[in-house]
């Protein structure tokens, strides 16, 4: 194999591949990226056995062929090469080396046979549709903060992507929760997605997927089966196993009967929460919200370190309420709000609270209160 490729195109392709590779590997081949050159494209493939990414880039292929080489090393080299340089990759299968040459720099890297590289089995997808990158980005960006890291409830370690009914008809919905907070985000149902099985997309896949979604107008080809999910742009294909588990029935978690309505400017609210939480050094900092007619007092009382209080003008017309929350959770949900005011719907100090942006029902957050 011998190819020449522009440094920028190579860096982009290799960067995507190497981020899938696990840093600590017990199986050497999994640290490698599979390079395959044919026609006028070169293809980079990397996997951690759960996720596989294939990235194509245009290249001058002098001699077709393939090899595998350590992904992080190749990425580091390419990253350090001067911008605009032309990089030549030459595989010497007899010597088991890949030479990387650019300008006056040359490197020789150890390779492993391409036959050892595990290629993810192709599978039948029950549902294939095209979704807007901007829609997918919103679905995952606004839900991923609530993904759980708890290993015992592994089925919460991802975003539950499924088709659901809403007030506005059928929607593509993403839900994530860790038992303390929950995010439920809806997007218009893409054509052809009606029969999609609900799948739990793992946290790492959500992170990798994000890199495919930078361009608003890009159409993403989505394929879903009971066990796998695939997202593809013309250049990049990301295939991932889904979490083998049942996502809990989240609908009964979302409070329906909360009537006490608070409306507040989200960024003013977030800043105030952040300020008062400063005095507490506990790991889970509790902020107390005292609600009175059109008045919200935020306070933190940490017996060992100090106390803080801040008052905000808000819209609130119900009876007096005192309720506590983990400051971090409040900040996270408040930061999801970017256009309108944040609307909180409370019931009692012990019940889950609902938050949304204005009257927008397509992004709903639930947060569990804390005893204060």
């Amino acid at each position: 194999m011998k190819i020449s490729i522009e440094r920028g195109a190579l860096l982009k392709a290799v960067a995507q591949a190497q981020s899938v590779v696990e840093r600590r590997n017990t199986i050497p081949i999994l640290a490698n990226v599979l390079i395959e050159a044919e026609g006028n494209t070169v293809q980079f493939r990397a996997t951690d056995l759960d996720i596989e990414v294939v990235d194509k880039a245009p290249a001058q292929v002098e001699r077709a062929g393939s090899t595998t080489v350590a992904a992080t090393t190749l990425h580091e080299i390419v990253r350090k090469l001067p911008d605009g340089s032309l990089v030549t990759l030459t595989a010497d299968s007899a010597a088991g080396r890949l030479s990387v040459e650019a300008g006056r720099s040359s490197f020789s890297l150890a390779t492993l046979p391409k036959e050892d590289f595990p290629v993810m089995a192709s599978s039948e997808y029950e549902s294939n549709f095209s979704a807007k990158a901007s829609d997918l980005r919103r679905l995952f960006d606004k839900s991923k903060f609530a993904i759980s890291t708890e290993e015992t409830r592994y089925y919460l370690n991802g975003v539950y992507m499924h088709v659901s009914d809403s007030e506005d008809g059928r929607v593509l919905r993403c839900v994530a929760t860790d038992g303390h907070r929950l995010a439920r985000i809806d997007a218009p149902l893409p054509e052809g997605a009606e029969a999609m099985p609900g799948v739990i997309v793992p946290r790492k896949t959500v992170g990798e997927l994000r890199k495919l979604l930078e361009d608003d107008d890009m159409a993403i080809a989505v394929s879903v089966s009971e066990t796998k999910v695939r997202f593809a742009t013309p250049d990049i294909t990301l295939t991932s196993k889904v979490i083998d588990g049942t996502f809990p029935d989240y609908t009964r978690v979302i409070p329906q009967g909360n009537t006490r309505r608070l409306e507040v400017d989200a960024s003013e609210f977030a800043q105030a929460v952040d300020r008062v939480a400063t005095v507490s050094s506990e790991r889970s900092r509790a902020v107390k919200l005292q609600l009175d007619e059109d008045r919200l007092v935020l306070s933190v009382n940490a017996p060992d370190s100090g106390a803080a209080e801040e008052e905000l003008a808000v819209a609130y017309g119900d009876e007096r309420l005192e309720i506590g929350f983990n400051a971090k959770y409040l900040l996270e949900i408040a930061s999801q709000v970017d256009r309108e005011n944040a609307v909180f719907m409370f019931n009692s100090a012990g019940d889950p609270t609902l938050m949304r942006e204005g009257n927008d029902q397509t992004a709903v957050y639930v947060v569990m209160p804390m005893r204060v």
Binding site: R181, P248, S284, R371
Partner: protein, 417 residues
């Protein structure tokens, strides 16, 4: 050389018999009346309490321990002569001493005796650091003017009082730091009184094995062996940097101990690091039903102790000992600290399920660690487990009932399994 009669507390000079009462129980040391850090260790404490309460046992070998499968927690001196040691498996102890009287521990009785001894020690100094029910460090520095007698006299008086008022005996180690005091108390058991002075520290330690150091177990011993360190003299040949490099923070401590230096204070407030409970079964079991009952009962005990001390744990630990004595442990960090039996049980049960296929087990234990004040605990509920809040309210209500009517007044069905 100063001497003290341990029977009549008369202070005298070096002599073979006490000039006042004629007793031979004299303790003699050049620094006897200058040293003030002591370690008091009761002699075969559990067994002594049992013998006191049942004089028929006086000349019989008595072993305190749990069940046929358990281990010896205490053996009286009669049994010790036959080779029985604490922590020895019971079957082995019974082989050595088939006529031994084996008694189940009566912890509440021992705790009462311990409390009485503690009350006597409280009269000597406020600086008491109990290590367990039957041993404690005492710092009597600066108490001579108050008591009108040097520490050695007050300590001899303490053991005399323990004997006459409680019918229990103890051994005293007196030195200039905790490490040496603890070593000294073990030199002349039972009813011992040993002194290690500043001047004789180096000579005393010289050829002693390093496993004398409290906290040097078989594995630390092994790594010391590999470095060619067997005695304190070996240790003295190492410089501080080399020891620290090889053994980390332990190396620094070893360097000081090798010189008989130990700067730890006798402190009454050693923070509790973890709370745990464990059970050894009469027969190995892999029955999930039986083990589940044990996990629940242990969770309740752990939670009770946490609640009593206003503590909560961030980590739940499960320990299981397999039939071949291999120990498996699993731990999980909770999202928020807890002191609730329900949470400890559910987490431990979850951890147990991860190792259940490695049974049968001979022992199981569970506990909490990474402790924090209870005020930080159990503050938020779980969206996905709406029953959790109700279960927690039920537990608090149950606790109030148990507080009033005794800990058996109300219990869950699974506690009976």
């Amino acid at each position: 050389m100063p001497a003290l009669c341990r029977d009549c507390l008369a202070r005298t000079e070096d002599t073979r018999r006490c000039p006042s009462c004629g007793s031979r129980r004299l303790v003699t040391h050049p620094e006897l009346f200058e040293l003030s850090i002591a370690h008091m260790d009761c002699d075969a404490f559990y067994a002594s309490v049992e013998k006191r309460d049942n004089p028929e046992l006086a000349d019989k070998p008595v072993i305190i321990g749990g069940g046929r499968r358990g281990v010896v927690s205490t053996a009286c001196y009669v049994a010790r002569i036959r080779g029985v040691r604490s922590a020895m498996p019971m079957f082995q102890a019974l082989k050595l001493c088939p006529d031994a009287v084996v008694l189940k521990p009566r912890m509440s009785v021992y705790a009462e005796a311990s409390r009485q001894i503690r009350a006597m020690m409280d009269e000597l100094t406020p600086a008491i650091q109990p290590l367990s029910l039957d041993e404690a460090f005492l710092d009597l520095s600066g108490t001579e003017r108050l008591h009108g007698a040097p520490p050695a006299v007050m300590l001899a008086r303490l053991t005399r009082r323990m004997k006459s008022e409680l019918g229990l005996t103890g051994s005293i180690g007196l030195s200039h730091n905790k490490f040496l005091a603890k070593v000294a108390s073990d030199l002349d058991k039972p009813r011992g009184f040993s002194v290690i002075g500043r001047a004789d520290t180096a000579a005393f330690l010289n050829d002693k094995p390093v496993r004398l150091i409290w906290g040097i177990g078989p594995s630390a011993q092994e790594s010391l062996d590999r470095a060619g360190i067997r005695t304190f003299a070996d240790l003295l040949r190492w410089d501080k940097a080399a020891l620290t490099q090889r053994f980390g923070s332990m190396g620094d401590r070893l360097w000081h101990l090798a010189r008989g230096e130990d700067h730890r204070r006798v402190s009454a407030h050693e923070p509790v690091k973890s709370i745990s409970n464990e059970t050894t079964f009469n027969e190995d079991t892999s029955s999930t039903d039986i083990l589940d009952g044990h996990i629940w009962r242990m969770a309740v005990k752990v939670a009770d102790r946490a609640k009593a001390r206003d503590l909560a744990g961030r980590v739940v630990v499960l320990k299981a000992k397999r039939a071949n004595h291999a120990i498996v442990t699993r731990r999980l960090s909770l999202r928020e600290p807890t002191q609730m039996a329900d949470t400890i049980y559910r987490t431990a049960r979850n951890l147990f399920d991860q190792v259940a296929d490695q049974g049968p087990f001979r022992l199981i234990g569970c506990g909490i660690s990474d402790l924090c004040p209870a005020s930080d605990a159990d503050k938020s509920g779980d969206l996905l487990d709406p029953g959790a809040t109700r279960r927690s309210e039920a537990e608090r209500a149950t606790d109030r009932i148990r507080e009033r009517f005794g800990s058996d007044a109300i219990m869950k069905g699974r506690a009976l399994r």
